[in-house]
Symmetry: C2
Subunit: 239 residues, 2 copies
């Protein structure tokens, strides 16, 4: 009986150790990229509030500047001149203050996001140098997140990598042949795909996905750094 | 023709003035309470990320503390002792830092929310002193928001005020007689309703709604302050 208890304790200890060791770099990467995406959401929610609230004071200005981050910046720099014929209400200084505080808060959130992105870049470069170079650290982290882990990204066919992030459109296509097959998922926001001609974006995504696949395998196996070579090959094929 | 243009200009000017004057205190109140609700959402989103991320390091602690705000506080005060047999991974100082930064950020958001609540209290006490006293400034602002304006809250029957915030349950009841009629909406979180006995909470909400209705009418008409008298009447009836 005493022996049984000893075995039990030993097994618990072993299990705890296994759980402990299961926290690998790619889990942290997925955590941080999720966190960064949430920070963007958070900034958007607050920016919408700001625009509405600020709109009572100077509605014309909010309509002019489409981009949230710039909108906040201009308000904080007091470059939001109110026109003389503005339809906006005249708010007292006391009434404007909490609006400005909100703008400040949003600005801090953007700065914080930048900081966490720097951190992500750092761990990506350390544990996935090849993916980071070919895909960029943000897109790379998103690919790992959608795939589920670095291992799963590494063993995935490159045609799947090409469509990661376009699952919805893909399944719509499979169910209903009338809707077109997507050509890319989040690879769409990659520099090389964006600057390709409209009818060559699919090709660019395909070539890129192939090299990212190789990069993922090398990173997973902790191979040598070949990222710059891979990226040059992509650029060569797209010229 | 020149006259026509003059009239046009005059009308535009008048319209702009009307738009300008249409920003009343209750519009600001609705704006601020919406903003505060969004800050709570924002803090929850970030807290969920924090719990998950921090969980890799010290999973036992996250399960112990249910309340987000307290959880964040304890982490920042380093009262989150890790047990020796913790299943959590050992994170390096570099890996822990961004987690702590996130905790700091969430804490700041809670402080910011408090500040904006103070501001709301101030405008509520100024423009709706009676509602603030009877319902409390937060519940009062929420009632104005759901009603749409102070005017609409003031002309609403008190039975409607009683159910503000329970629209979904109410319409479920109307469509399907099997589901019970709700007894209160957001008045549920009022102190006097909360501390009433379970089978008297409906009665408490009804009495409270009656007096809030009166308070809203007085505030809308800019009458004298009778809030303390009204509140005492509610308390008297509930004894």
């Amino acid at each position: 009986m005493e022996n049984l208890e000893k075995i039990r304790q030993y097994l618990i200890k072993e299990t705890k150790k296994k759980v402990k060791d299961s926290v690998t770099d790619d889990i942290l990467i997925i955590q941080v990229i999720t966190h960064i995406d949430d920070l963007i959401k958070v900034a958007n929610v607050m920016s919408k509030d700001l625009r509405e609230w600020y709109g009572y004071y100077n509605p014309e200005f909010s309509r002019e500047i489409k981009e949230h981050e710039e909108f906040v910046k201009l308000i904080l720099e007091k470059k939001d001149k109110k026109t003389k014929e503005s339809m906006g209400a005249d708010l007292s200084k006391d009434e404007l203050e909490p609006i400005m505080e909100l703008a400040k808060k949003i600005n801090e959130t953007y700065k914080f996001k930048k900081k966490q992105e720097d951190y992500l870049e750092q761990i990506m470069k350390k544990s996935c140098p090849n993916i980071s170079t070919v895909a960029g650290f943000l897109i790379g982290a998103k690919l790992i997140k959608i795939a589920g882990s670095l291992r799963r990204l590494a063993i995935m066919p490159s045609s799947t990598v090409q469509l990661l992030g376009a699952e919805e459109a893909l399944f719509r296509h499979i169910k209903n042949k009338n809707s077109r097959c997507p050509k890319y998922g989040i690879l769409h926001s990659h520099n090389l795909v964006m600057k390709a001609k409209k009818d060559e974006q699919g090709k660019a995504a395909r070539i890129l996905a192939g090299k990212i696949s190789i990069a993922a395998k090398v990173d997973y196996m902790k191979g040598k750094f070949v990222g710059d070579k891979l990226l040059k090959e992509v650029e060569g094929k797209l010229r």
